[in-house]
Subunit: 350 residues, 4 copies
């Protein structure tokens, strides 16, 4: 199979670097172009980018010349690691120019004709793409988004349960990793021996995105799931891995064992299609009292798996649990890549 | 005023050391005896105790000979920093022998005739003491306890609100400091760059103690408040200071401003009696988005104040907030000392 | 005694905030003015300053209007917490205008007529002030500096030993706290679970400042001590407290016991003059194997004392030891305040 | 090639777990037996071992029954992760029974007929084995050891330089990772926001082991190199990766560039023999000011490479540098495995 040529938008940022790291050896995709802000454009990537990953910068990208984020660069798929400040317009321009845009930015997530995709949970949402193209007068281009880094593991946990018992209410308190704030993010003086009970703009995203993901397609439009979510978010001194304390009220009441079994047995289209980044199993249910933990479990399933533990009854709602996912892989760059793999397998990219 | 002579039970442990630190210069109390396990008994305190506080060991205790925890030591008040494994029986023996026992241990907290005291919230609960003495055939001795280190700040936050609007349901997720696990507590390898979603036996305590504290006295017995609590606890890489993400449903619905005003204006008996350890104000309400934080706010009010921030509406219940208290001072040794101060001011100790 | 009115230059920065914190209740000095950059000037201090200390901002400064750093502000002594980028000229302007400038900045430290003062070690160096005033045509104004945050504890350790046995060579490897980099300083992602073996411009300062401090006055000029120093500096995940692994070669060879005794018995002019910020004793020598440690020992002597431990023989030089000092207090703001106290006691300020 | 059957002695400890992790997929070796203390013997490994690695326990070992550490278990090579308390005698028993013992324990390291092996530096030292066997009356069995976790990267840095310019004196100050203390090792309360200037028994090992490693073989015995080392060791809040600030005096003076070039071009027998665990290159020299750093560089060369940076002149000796190696892989289990690979390639194991 000939590899698809891809462009990484915003390739010098934290999410962009993860794209580079994860795509450098990808079996289906080949990095053809890297873009960044005007300040970086024109320089070789090795010079334009302060590489902050704990693996070396791939040789293949070191001498690539960074280009401006304009829709005339080589490649047919555009992975967007752009900041929200610029992502909105740049992604529209790329889609209009015919690129398949696979975005990690928040700008278009909640648009009525844009899939907010978690391939294990709502793979059918990509069928909105022809509508999106018709709405916007686009030919081959389109935009697909992945959710916020908390919403991904939350949707993974809720999805299989919602299908069987109907989620009604969700309480979620997060303990989020530092890498979620990008670089430089938090000053060390602010977070060592400390917790910060606030992340700007995060709670509203967590409170709405799951409803779209767990919703359905009907008559060529999305019908959002109707449960309500209350989110309280916190930043903790962890490098990678977002942790969620979750309590769920269901329409029909499952037992703890039924919940664990349903999560354990869950498998979905990415696994059946053997997408290269699909974690097998998608969800690891742990029985130990004190798991999951970010440092021990964030790399489960090549950092694409979601770990769930402490499943137990809740005195107020029905079921409580702890959920963990790797925020910059499963919750960002890796999520977008899995989206692109699904799109490719379904014939939306070529 | 002549100082009351006190004994510290379990003086070499973490809570015991805090008792020593906080009582060394106390205006009302004077350390007369120190007890510990048989292994330490007979040695000077400076030798028996591996001092782990960040102030120097007080000169006055260095050469005191540690004694066995038996009710024949000098002093009329016994501060108990004993482990739960031995506290139950030792405290009974001291109370039977006539000591006023002011305990931080969990053993007698939920007994029907033992006050679970937070002086700002339920100071009238000490009036059970004569009943307790009668029940148990004790003369001058008695047992008074302080709550778990999470239950103290939680009760401080809920108390003033419960009185006005009636608490109905409480969701609480904690991020608890390492010092709460005693010494050595967690291995560094287990908590650096990590969160542990489990603390043995903690959730049940958090789920019941507030009901007793916020309950009332009627016909010489306690009537527990009837709200329900769901607790999910986590250990984070913080030295001191327990943080709580809290959501509350009320019988009558207050506004965010009413809640903040009520908490801000709250004052109570310890403040009116000018007890030496009473924080003024007892509750500090912060308006910044990103406060309270353990490192910046745990020392509020000489580490006896409770800090509350992020008061806002909850999409599921009524009001969400973040609550912080110093776990080894306001939530343990300092709590017991404030209890003793109230008892002294009310004539129960002399 | 009427308090001297002082101005704090650069009052909103990290060192400036420490000046505010330490001077708010000072028995000899009274904060009359606060200055900062033009961006902050004109605002009340409470608004201009993002307060990052773990005690509350003193009430007395909250409504003071921040002024530009120009030598027309109220006060006769100027404490400078300015950045090196602006400190040079601003301090000259203040001295020329008649203020006694007590600076923490590096700009004038090595000037031939400016004292680089550690009051316990080289109090006589202030006698250069009349020369400085004559050289520069200043009337009442002058500049006195304190050393770099590593050089202070290093000079405290070396001073008493140099006097008796003559320091010849010094190897020093530092593990320095995050607060030394100011705010925001290091990104949390760069230092958690990590060490950074570099601090820009630090090694040259450490390698020369001690020679000036341990030097002598002769014929109205400084004669630097002639030992040589090799410094290797590292940043570690510690909030406050610089730690030094030190090895010293002497001209005459002392025994380990002689070194410990000399350091233990050391006392000097600030102690004899009972300067308010003088630590008693100035040096705490610890016999435990595993001390000093930043978190346990940085607050020794109100954070003005220097802790020394692990004094032992060196297979290459003569004596090895570990030295610790609080970098933002003993190594910065507190150092400047002790300098001002010495100047006041000696009649240079009024 | 048929794989060699190996036994892991002390398989449930921290070093033992690393052996299991690194050997589970090894191309030359196959885990045939696992031993541990009597407490664990008889249980399946999955039950006997509290697995603390951040990859999952290999499936192949989960049901293996842990056996006592007695020399009757299946396998011809014994990797020893035993504690020093028992390693001495157990390893002797295994060697006497004919096993090739490849040990990480300190007990036999300095014995006159036991190689203290770093395959890149002193591969010829294995030629002592026939002498060892003769001395001790052993047939096929023998003992080979790897150095202390600091001595390995130190020897890697010094080796190539010693050969050309002759090392005369070495100052080394370490900042060592927590995993070096085993599990549980340090309490979190002791090391967060802190540095501990002491590791029991470490400095003497660091001060002698390099001399043996950099020494020569002559007349069937080792001649130790004659330089002198002074070590000061510290524990820092890092999970993995020991960092060394090093200064070296040479007999002949190289330039900074010569040192960097020599280290960069260094390659040795493990690389030429293409041993499976040999890092290529063995030493990575970095030119950035602020590297190496534990978190970014400990995984260099599959955690078997040594990173060196900040090579510069020393005002006292000749050359200063910062050296980093992964302490539990390059400095322990991985070191032993590379030793075994060399022994196999050289015909000492079959």
């Amino acid at each position: 199979m000939k590899k698809l040529k891809v462009v990484i938008l915003g390739a010098t940022g934290m999410v962009g670097q993860r794209f580079v790291q994860l795509l450098a050896e990808h079996p289906w995709f080949e990095i053809a172009s890297l873009t960044a802000s005007d300040r970086s454009a024109g320089k070789p990537y090795a010079e334009a980018c302060t590489w902050r990953q704990d693996t070396d910068m791939p040789e293949s990208v070191k001498s690539m010349i960074v280009q401006p984020s304009e829709p005339n660069v080589e490649g047919s798929v555009a992975f967007s690691g752009l900041d929200a400040g610029v992502a909105g317009e740049v992604e529209l321009a790329f889609a209009a120019a015919g690129y398949g845009v696979v975005s990690n930015a928040k700008n278009h997530r909640m648009a009525a004709d844009v899939p907010l995709l978690v391939p294990e949970i709502n793979p059918d949402h990509i069928d909105i793409i022809p509508i999106q193209q018709k709405n916007r007068g686009w030919n081959t281009g389109f935009i697909v988004t992945n959710p916020n880094c908390v919403a991904v593991p939350m949707a993974m946990a809720l999805g299989p349960l919602h299908k069987r018992w109907g989620v009604e209410k969700v309480f979620v308190v997060t303990m989020q990793a530092l890498s979620g704030a990008g670089y430089p993010g938090h000053a060390a003086l602010d977070i060592i021996d400390n917790v910060i009970p606030f992340i700007g703009g995060e709670e509203p995203k967590v409170e709405v995105e799951s409803n779209k993901i767990l919703g359905t397609m009907a008559n060529n439009s999305f019908v959002h799931a109707d449960f309500r979510t209350s989110a309280m978010v916190n930043r903790v001194a962890v490098i990678d891995g977002h942790m969620l304390s979750l309590s769920i009220a269901f329409k029909q009441k499952p037992s703890v064992d039924e919940v664990k079994q349903t999560l354990r047995e869950f498998t979905s289209e990415p696994q059946q299609l053997q997408l290269p980044s699909a974690p097998i199993p998608p969800i690891v249910v742990r029985d130990e009292d004190n798991r999951p933990q970010p440092r021990l479990d964030r790399n489960t399933g090549n950092s694409m798996g979601v770990s769930i533990g402490r499943v137990r009854e809740c005195p107020l709602f029905d079921i409580k649990m702890t959920v963990l996912g790797h925020n910059t892989i499963r919750g960002a760059a890796g999520a977008a890549i899995l989206n692109a793999e699904l799109l490719k397998a379904k014939g939306y990219l070529d």
